[in-house]
């Protein structure tokens, strides 16, 4: 008789994959992940707006919630338990350096180093920048239409930042992802493009504009957006801004089963720190990889299902034909 089920032991996995999605800071709305509808997604192509940050290592969850016992009787014995505090921490190491992984591994705003103007005065966060250019109509998330004179200012291999001019506003700035919180009006018209997450690599330049190697996280440039080249990134230790993102971590087992750890609200909680990983374990003083360390504090959300406050959802999709 042909068997139609098997008894699955504990999942066997090789690694963990990380996805992050922006929290709307103005409305404090996190991104939700529904494993019943989205759990079978292609790990290489997560559902929008989740951003794939690739495989990670050192993924660790550290519950720090405390419970207290309600004692009764003589001698006192626990009658009930009550949750005293709700807290959990997540730590991991990113295996690549990108705009987003750097931002997630710092506890302040993360900035773009705009290409400096000629003879600009030095500044630790990047000097006064070359003037921004205006995208033309017809631009998309992967192709920026420009006047030919503007296009000539860029080259294949450039990195660009696309966002609106700073106009003296306060509060969260950067679209569609808040890159900073402005407490008092600033003078830098390029400030939003300094903190925006709307960046991409240019793969080709032609007379009509730029072709991007990756889509802009914010999609097609919004009305009023401008474009500037950037040379890299900078973050600071200190400051008052905390990155906040929704996090999703996936482990796929050897039998196709999946474990999801979904944190609706993760705030960075530690200063910038790197981990050194020698490429050859037998040659500790040789070439080493520098890994970005991310440490996060999970903040609670109220589950509309029953009004409970929670910090993490752990989901499990069993392997096909496995006993449950």
């Amino acid at each position: 008789m042909v068997s139609t089920w098997f008894s699955a032991p504990a999942p066997v996995t090789r690694r963990v994959r990380a996805y992050f999605a922006p929290v709307n800071r103005s409305t404090q709305t996190p991104e939700l992940f529904d494993p019943s509808q989205q759990g079978c997604f292609n790990l290489e192509a997560p559902p929008a707006p989740w951003i794939d940050l690739g495989w990670i290592q050192g993924f660790a969850r550290k519950p720090a919630s405390k419970s207290t016992s309600l004692l009764t009787g003589i001698p006192a014995a626990p009658l009930e338990q009550a949750r005293e505090t709700l807290e959990t921490q997540v730590s991991l190491q990113f295996l690549n350096w990108t705009k987003l992984t750097m931002a997630l591994a710092t506890d302040s705003q993360h900035m773009n180093l705009l290409t400096p103007a000629s003879a600009a005065a030095p500044s630790a966060c990047g000097a006064e920048a070359l003037p921004a250019v205006n995208p033309q109509s017809g631009s998309t998330s992967t192709s920026i239409q420009l006047a030919s004179a503007d296009a000539a200012r860029f080259a294949a291999g450039s990195i660009i930042a696309v966002d609106v001019d700073y106009a003296g506003q306060t509060g969260y700035v950067g679209s569609p992802i808040a890159g900073a919180f402005v407490r008092q009006a600033l003078a830098d018209v390029d400030y939003i493009r300094r903190v925006t997450f709307n960046v991409a690599l240019v793969s080709q330049v032609n007379a009509t504009g730029l072709v991007l190697a990756q889509p802009l996280p914010g999609g097609a440039p919004a009305v009023g957006s401008k474009l500037q080249a950037i040379v890299g990134f900078v973050d600071r230790e200190g400051g008052s801004f905390y990155q906040e993102w929704s996090g999703l971590f996936v482990s796929q087992g050897s039998q196709g089963e999946r474990i999801f750890f979904h944190y609706p609200r993760l705030q960075t909680m530690a200063g910038t720190e790197e981990a050194i990983s020698p490429l050859n374990q037998k040659h500790q003083n040789g070439q080493s990889r520098i890994l970005l360390k991310g440490q996060f504090l999970a903040l609670p959300v109220t589950d509309p299902l029953d009004g409970e406050r929670v910090v993490c959802y752990r989901s499990f999709l069993p392997a096909a034909h496995a006993l449950v």
Partner: protein, 161 residues
């Protein structure tokens, strides 16, 4: 565990035909993909060149699980003398190409388990999976370069196996 060994071999064989369809071997009058299982062929004093030879070695089992896990060590042996048209001077390049084909063949690190004793092969319930390969240093014998890549192939024993 024979089903796991067969499934692993057939997965690599199918992947090789996509990665490099020109890597073939003439065996018993038939042209086949250039990968074979040593224990399923006639003994030879010298392994063929420019094909992959799969050799099964150690065996282990974890009997404490609900489904017994079997781990089998697999060695993939490959060697080349380069091509005649270059007088063998391209043997290093030829071995590098085989290294790359091994890396491509073993990914992804799992395949469905099938029972190849049945015709047509019958799908089973679990998957066979394996580790990243460990590459040994090149061995040089005159004009022959050879290397082995070793991995552990895991599978769960199903009812009836």
């Amino acid at each position: 565990m024979q089903n796991a060994k067969d499934s692993f071999y057939m997965a690599l064989r199918a992947r090789l035909t996509t990665i490099n369809p020109e890597r073939t071997i003439l065996m018993r009058g038939a042209v086949r993909p250039g990968i074979l299982v040593e224990e399923a062929e006639a003994p030879v004093s010298q392994l063929p060149t420019d094909v992959f030879v799969l050799r099964w070695l150690a065996l282990g089992a974890d009997l404490d699980l609900d489904s017994t896990m079997v781990a089998t060590q697999c060695e993939l042996i490959y060697q080349t003398c380069g091509t005649q048209s270059f007088g063998g001077l391209d043997r290093g390049r030829a071995l590098s190409q085989m290294d790359e084909e091994v890396l491509a063949m073993i990914h992804p690190f799992y395949t469905p388990k099938l029972n190849y004793a049945a015709t047509p092969p019958a799908a089973m319930l679990t998957q066979v999976f394996w580790d990243e390969p460990e590459f040994a240093p090149i061995t040089i014998q005159r004009d022959r370069l050879s290397r082995t890549a070793t991995t552990i192939v895991y599978s769960y024993q199903e009812q009836g196996e």
